[in-house]
Subunit: 338 residues, 2 copies
Amino acid sequence: MNQKEILLNHGSGGKLSQDLFKSVFGKYFGNPILDKLTDSAIVESPGTHLAFTTDSYVVDPIFFPGGNIGTLAVCGTVNDLSVAGAEPIMLSTGFIIEEGFPLSKLEEVVSEMAAKAKEAGVSIVTGDTKVVNKGKCDGLFINTSGIGRVDQARKHISYGETISPGDVILINGTLGDHGMAILSKRNEINLHTKIASDCAPLNGIIQDVLAVSDKVRFMRDATRGGLATVLCECVTNREYGIRIDESTLPLRESVMGMCDMLGFDPLYIANEGKVVMIVAPEDAQRVLETMQQHPYGKEAAIVGEVVADHPGKVTLQTEIGGKRIVEIPAGDQLPRIC
Amino acid sequence: MNQKEILLNHGSGGKLSQDLFKSVFGKYFGNPILDKLTDSAIVESPGTHLAFTTDSYVVDPIFFPGGNIGTLAVCGTVNDLSVAGAEPIMLSTGFIIEEGFPLSKLEEVVSEMAAKAKEAGVSIVTGDTKVVNKGKCDGLFINTSGIGRVDQARKHISYGETISPGDVILINGTLGDHGMAILSKRNEINLHTKIASDCAPLNGIIQDVLAVSDKVRFMRDATRGGLATVLCECVTNREYGIRIDESTLPLRESVMGMCDMLGFDPLYIANEGKVVMIVAPEDAQRVLETMQQHPYGKEAAIVGEVVADHPGKVTLQTEIGGKRIVEIPAGDQLPRIC
């Protein structure tokens, strides 16, 4: 890297984050499990396979339409385990709290975490609290780590090793709700919209799908960097490409309107309750219908397919008949979205 | 709690931390595993028992004599697993970095983490990085979570269920080195001393002890709140007490001098490479000798015993022949020590 200081975009989940991983974390920590760069590590343990994941949450603001930092801290980690094909079983929580933070707000966050953990069927089994002096953090940061159990037959899902041309790309609903909900409440903006975050635990809908199809090739939750980043990572250094159709992308009018107004592309906006699935074509319809029957999948859609041409690239078929390459973003359009 | 805002001492590991747990975290997250309030959760998993722990590190300053925040982040979590009788196998890392933090310093921290992980024989298998705007955190915070394997025969160690009067209290070396090393480098003080943190991974010395004795009743690393806090927690609501002898406590002269000068009691000062063990009397000498043969145990000592009188209390036999009750502190004498 040429930079000598950390930039906000080193935390974006985009290209600069990858550079930071390679030049610092990977350089020192590198090992075959970490180097796979999936959100959950899959580790063999006697008699079973474990998925292990961690995420710190620094969202600004802490409370937003559709949830708060606690909703994210539980759902985000449950989702990272779930898209690895794992059944989430337990979480840890680490709180870093700013001196003077109101206890009533802490309790609101913690009660929401408990509610989401209950919904997802996971236990919070261990935790830690640190308090820093006023002005030394921004209210409240939360880390959650999680452990899940992986059926050996599903180990391949987190690596996408079985993806091949003809496979179908699905998503379980509308794009960009989380990012636009957060942005609408940022101090400098504070728009009056009805956009709420889509933050939700996805283990239920994912288990429903896995129960009807053993041909799910890959899953990933489309968080920081949005759908575009997931798909671009999927094709990097691969022998295939991905084509998506703009006309099929599920989008709320309110989100589309806000994106238009502010100059954002919803393909790159963070979601917190959306899973991208790549499925063998013969199972695509069944998976779509299963998603649509779940409360978190009513607006599920088939949005594209894996193609043999332009390997390593994601292309977007626009509504007016054009075609453009979807690039991995250097940084995030919105920092501190989760 | 009467307070309406978070105080620094809510993060101290002392009484206020316990109050916060009871009134907020325990109230919402409570479950039989979490409620045991050990540093590592012990969870049954098919074919094995897992220990699972998490800690966030917010030490100030980030670099100090004897290590940096990365030394703590790896050793602290390795030690939490080790004192649960577990063999640490893997760690996650979550970085929260302030925009503008020098990459060279990040690399120094990360390379130290890798070195300590190598020494402890654990892999860092998953991670996450968030960056927050300048002024929104204090340079660098790190969370590490860890998973270890627990031999079923050692499950009782983390709960101390088999402690009984006559058992012997040991510690593997000098008290208070870490706390005084940190304090000596705080901006407002910056003393010129040779005190270095004792920060070290304790899994090696603990495994050596467990290999020669199956009568280790309890272990705990004496971090925030020091030896006093560990012992007070040990006797809370129990039918026995603990008596320690001031004359046997291993203490460096430099640490003693600094404590005297600043009015601190080394019993309450944090350590990061010290394990307190409670051992059946017939094995005490063998455990002591095993500790003393390890590089991290050269100054190990027997410092007291479990007694039938004054149940629920820790008493200190002073060097001049007096006796005093050792109380659990309300808060820490030093915030942000780890």
